[in-house]
């Protein structure tokens, strides 16, 4: 296949994946708000688990299965498509859930139907202006789907990590092969312009749709969600169980089984701990930087047009995919006066920061729209109160409404940087190679018990770190709360 054909193929597959993801995401919406809290939590948990399962783990788990399809390459492509779809459906569902409502309400559609049914001459004259039903759909509910669908498309179109392990057809892999055999960067860029053009076009559509949505809609209008019928509820649970098993349970089971047999690898592999430390460090630094940038920009309230454009430009490198972005950063540090910093961790931190920034910004937009401003205002007012007890309660409220949710916004950002493979593969300094990337390279030799054990440790390390951090923060909060209670009691006495 020529490069153009491969781009077209990747484009077609990404369109199919995003279409399917959006269809499933749309039908999952009613399930996200049930009357029972435990059920809602369970659904969100089951939905998000596959999304946060590292691509590294998924690709590794299905490596052997993919090999077994060597005589059926078409089935291998379909299976790869299925895995990517199962990974993107949760993203589509979350994005759709937090998308601004459609500019055309259900009432507006109903009125239009009434107009169409009317036989009066006056209304029939108007019908040309009203346009066909699909056009209304595009202006209304369709417009709401565009930003989420576009972002899902970008994720599917840029996918790199699973496809290299499964050896499927992808423009990213093809471009990397060209680079590996010695193509100069300018030639790679020239060829990369085609997929980049596609990505930019989709980004412009997303931007246009999002701006139009935020401008035309009333954020207090939420889409009307019909309650689930028992059949659809059954289908929802079936999907959630299927995705959970395929993307999480089977990979975790395979790796865990291998880990038991291969734990002795820890006795001989002294560098794993150090490399895991590097990975955690890079993830924390890049993640906090990206998160901080996003909080700063989005926290400024309603952005003026030039701020929006500036924010878009800063996010652009990451939105264009980590491969071309990392290659540019490499050139910058290799061939300009920045070469003194080439051997330092700075290129990798820069690359990871640019890679994750768009995601951090997206999370902040979602959070901004989901936050109840009244409680934020109340917390701010209480913090400025002359009464000490009020100030403490203000801090407590601020913790619960702002700081604690922000902590949870930071976690996925750090998580993505920790498990990104493309950026370290180009920018990592030899002295500070992150563990996940090292393991990812070893995975190309096939599955092994020692490798499974190392992978388990690499995945468990950040989870353990986050758990300890949560315990630490909760302890601080508890101590603070106890002080507050003691203060209240002494006042009342």
């Amino acid at each position: 296949m020529s490069f153009t054909e491969i781009v077209e193929f990747s484009l077609f597959r990404a369109c199919l994946i995003s279409l399917l993801s959006m269809l499933v995401a749309q039908s999952l919406q009613p399930a996200l708000k049930t009357e029972r809290l435990w059920q809602t939590r369970l659904i969100w948990g089951a939905l998000l688990a596959p999304f946060f399962c590292p691509d590294l783990l998924v690709g590794y788990a299905y490596y052997n299965f993919s090999l077994s399809l060597v005589h059926h390459p078409v089935w291998n492509e379909w299976f790869y498509g299925l895995l990517v779809t199962l990974k993107t459906i949760p993203l589509a569902t979350i994005l759709l859930y937090f998308s601004p409502p459609s500019p055309l309400s259900a009432e507006a559609f109903y009125c239009r139907e009434l107009l169409n049914r009317s036989q009066s001459a006056r209304f029939s004259k108007l019908s040309w202006w009203c346009g066909p039903r699909w056009l209304w759909w595009v202006r209304g509910p369709g417009l709401r789907l565009l930003p989420a669908g576009g972002l899902v498309f970008l994720i599917a179109f840029q996918e790199f990590e699973i496809c290299t392990l499964m050896n499927t057809t992808a423009w990213t892999l093809n471009l990397f092969d060209r680079r590996a055999i010695g193509w100069e960067s300018t030639r790679v860029y020239q060829l990369g312009l085609r997929p980049l053009g596609v990505e930019l076009l989709v980004l412009l559509i997303i931007l246009f749709a999002y701006l139009k949505l935020t401008k035309q809609t009333n954020k207090t209008d939420r889409p009307i969600v019909k309650p689930l019928s028992s059949a659809r509820e059954g289908l929802t649970w079936a999907y959630l169980a299927f995705a959970f098993v395929v993307i999480l349970l089977i990979p975790v089971g395979l790796v865990f089984r291998g880990s038991i047999a291969g734990w002795t690898v820890f006795l001989t592999n002294s560098s794993l701990l150090r490399e895991t430390g590097y990975a955690c460090g890079f993830a924390a630094i890049s993640g906090v930087l990206a998160h901080g940038t996003a909080v700063y920009w989005v926290g400024r309230g309603q952005l003026v047009w030039w701020s929006r454009i500036l924010l878009f430009l800063v996010c652009l490198p990451g939105l264009c995919g980590s491969f071309l972005m990392s290659l540019t950063v490499l050139e910058l540090f290799q061939k300009t006066s920045l070469y003194h910093l080439y051997d330092t961790p700075l290129p990798l931190i820069t690359g990871l920061y640019l890679f994750v920034l768009p995601r951090a910004v997206l999370i902040q937009f979602i959070r901004r729209d989901a936050t109840q401003r009244e409680s934020t205002f109340l917390a701010k007012t209480l913090r400025n109160s002359p009464v000490i007890a009020h100030r403490r309660e203000g801090w407590q409220l601020c913790w619960e409404q702002n700081l604690w949710p922000q902590f949870w916004c930071l976690i996925p950002v750090c998580f993505w940087t920790y498990f990104d493979m493309t950026t370290p593969s180009i920018l990592a300094s030899p002295a500070t190679t992150p563990a996940p990337y090292r393991l990812y390279n070893l995975m190309h030799y096939g599955q092994g018990t020692g490798l499974s054990a190392m992978l388990s440790a690499t995945i468990a390390a950040p989870c353990l770190f986050i758990t300890l951090l949560i315990v630490f923060l909760k302890t601080i909060q508890w101590i603070h709360l106890r002080r507050l209670m003691t203060h209240r009691n002494s006042n009342s006495l």
Binding site: R179, A180, G182, Y339, R438, N441, G446
Partner: protein
């Protein structure tokens, strides 16, 4: 700074041993089976203006020849290099070979006989159960370059297209070929001795046969070690080269899971039996020193073929 194309699972221990013996700290950048690895040769070329690498331990020879041709290697004639036969050394000391691998057929013995006749017969018919690594990279590229040099470009193209029509599977790397054959998904394929012995250690039903050129020679691909021009760690780099070219290291590589074949004289009693068998084949190896031109022409064609 050492750029090391030899698998990290074998080479890291050796380089750590060097640090223990000399007290010289070594930073290592590995190249791997992964396609995502940009290729250390390409990195050295890209970094030519501001070299980052001091010593390049390559696991094949053609990339090293390329670097030597571009003038990016600094000659150094180690005393330990005297042990190595001349056909595995650069005349001016730009690079020296040590611990070699052989190209071979890996055969699943549950599915076919491991004899030259059986392989020859299999090559005449349907090849959908044969696997090779993509010849754009690594030792498969070396093999193709050798075939280009021996058969001529047109004949190789015809040969390759015929095999493709017969349905052979072209996969990402030699390790994948080994996995496919060891697991019985394919009957046989091309790979290297180090990958083959991994399957042997996993008790897979596999056997090997050396791949031979038209003139009956084997393909023996040495590791090569060289100093990158512009290094500011010249003394330390020379010490590392002396260390790698020592008998002790060739024996360590021979006794590792990869069973590398010593090229220099070693104490035979310390060699594993499998390596003794390989030594005979390695002695029949075709010289690879003059293959650079063929490699470049062949790569141009392969690029058109696989990356149109």
């Amino acid at each position: 700074m050492v750029y090391c194309a030899h698998d990290s699972i074998y080479s890291e221990e050796i380089l750590n041993q060097f640090t223990e013996q000399t007290g010289i700290e070594v930073e290592i950048r590995f190249d791997t089976e992964a396609t995502k690895s940009l290729g250390l040769v390409q990195s050295i070329i890209a970094e030519a203006a501001h070299p980052r690498c001091d010593v390049f331990w390559n696991n094949e020879i053609l990339g090293t020849l390329d670097l030597a041709e571009r003038g990016l290697l600094q000659p150094y004639k180690s005393l330990n290099a005297e042990r190595i036969p001349e056909k595995f050394r650069s005349p001016n000391g730009a690079w020296t070979g040590f611990g070699a691998r052989l190209r071979l057929y890996i055969i699943n013995t549950d599915q076919m006989d491991a004899t030259p006749e059986a392989v020859e017969q299999a090559l005449q018919g349907d090849l959908s159960k044969m696997a090779i690594a993509k010849p754009l990279f690594g030792t498969t590229l070396t093999q193709y370059s050798l075939m280009w040099s021996e058969m001529g470009g047109d004949a190789l193209k015809e040969w390759h297209h015929k095999r493709t029509e017969q349905g052979w599977k072209i996969v990402q790397g030699n390790a994948v070929v080994k996995n496919l054959v060891a697991d019985g998904k394919c009957q046989f394929g091309w790979t290297d001795t180090d990958d083959f012995f991994l399957a042997v250690d996993d008790n897979k039903p596999v056997a090997m046969l050396p791949i031979r050129t038209e003139e009956g020679q084997t393909i023996c691909i040495p590791n090569t070690v060289s100093i990158v021009k512009g290094t500011n760690q010249e003394k330390a780099a020379q010490k590392l080269i002396d260390f790698l070219l020592s008998e002790e290291i060739e024996l360590a590589l021979a006794n590792s899971r990869s069973r590398q074949v010593p090229l220099g004289t070693v104490d035979e009693s310390k060699l594993p039996e499998e390596v003794k068998q390989l030594q005979g084949w390695a002695a029949e190896g075709v010289p690879l020193g003059g293959l650079l031109e063929a490699r470049n022409e062949c790569l141009n064609w392969l690029e058109e073929e696989f990356l149109p």
